[in-house]
Symmetry: C2
Subunit: 185 residues, 2 copies
DNA sequence: GTTATATATATCAGATTGATATATCGTCAA
DNA sequence: TTGACGATATATCAATCTGATATATATAAC
């Protein structure tokens, strides 16, 4: 799946700045997909040139300008075709190319080479982080005054993913708390 | 965590070819970390130049040559230092930079734009894939005649990770089977 | 008063991917 | 039997992506 498709998909739930797209990908979707600014801004530029999105420049009083991007009709059609093709590729190849790099998991896997106290510390830290993240995705209330993320959060698809994530993360948390003694004295 | 560190860590459980390292990362560790050949071979070359690994060239009868890499004493020291520093960075920043791109999860999130039959199909396919992967990591028996992966699989760290993965994946499987109706008619 | 964090866009060196090339062997089907 | 395919094995490279950095302002903390 291309970066373009991700941006278009996220713009389906309403107009957003590049910064907001990064915020969604760094926040609730953190364990699902992430992109750097260096991918997002060029993608939005390319999509603008192809007229799959448009933007309104909003010069704010004493704040940096915002470019608020919206998906066009052409963009919606393009998104549908791209997703259908991605789905087709998946079905044909059985391979979705999920790309995962969990440095934390590798650190635990190699933790025999670390002092016991260090292993304890990184597990304590991780447990705190997981609990915070669980709160983030379990939280149902409004996010801010100008809450334009509601459409994304209230779709059945988003609810499905949030439910899946919270169950999976809760399982991981329980497992780590129950079995951490296998990794340190 | 650098690619170098991943290679050194995997070589701690015994000598391996670059191809074997890729095999481990594409197989049981698939949902944890992955690297392409284009990262692995240059990393092994760099590690050789730095004398952190050595290799024996094995010319096989009518098969391609193999370069079997082993970690050196210097390499072991380097690994310990690198892991300690990575752990320190984590504790200080609270951020491990886990990098995740699950195209499948994004496809489900955007699946409103797909026909119902397609959504059904990709979920059916995914359930099959998950079941296969569960078998792969749950399997305890020997892997092949020349089974040099046993040290990696039998360490407490590897058992911990396999247990964690199988519980998490089982939870995901149950959730998808129970809730898939929310995504298609 | 200064340090840090949030909002917001943008760029770029260096790292990574996914594809491709090369070479041999075994297997499975037409 | 021949041709296609997959496994073993190394290697390279264009296109893409990351992580860091730059720029600019406001607000909160210390």
């Amino acid at each position: 799946m291309q970066t373009d498709t991700i941006c278009l998909g996220l713009l389906m739930s309403g107009p957003k700045t590049g910064y907001a797209i990064k915020g969604i990908l760094s926040g609730p979707l953190n364990q699902i997909y992430n992109l750097s600014f260096g991918s997002i801004y060029p993608a939005l530029g390319k999509l603008t040139r192809e007229k799959l999105v448009t933007f309104k420049q909003q010069s704010q009083d004493k704040k940096p300008d915002r470019k608020i991007y919206s998906i066009t009709k052409k963009g919606i059609n393009h998104l549908k075709e791209a997703l259908l093709q991605d789905a087709g590729n998946y079905i044909r190849s059985g391979n979705y190319g999920d790309q995962i790099k969990s440095e934390y998991a590798m650190l635990l896997l190699f933790s025999e080479a670390l002092p016991d106290e260090t292993v304890k510390l990184i597990i304590d830290e991780r447990i705190l982080y997981i609990k915070q993240f669980l709160n983030l995705i379990t939280y149902e209330g409004p996010l801010s005054e100008e809450d334009n993320l509601q459409p994304l959060r209230r779709s059945p698809q988003a609810k499905f993913m949030r439910g899946l994530m919270s169950e999976v993360i809760q399982t991981a948390l329980d497992y780590i708390e129950k079995n951490r003694k296998k990794l340190h004295g």
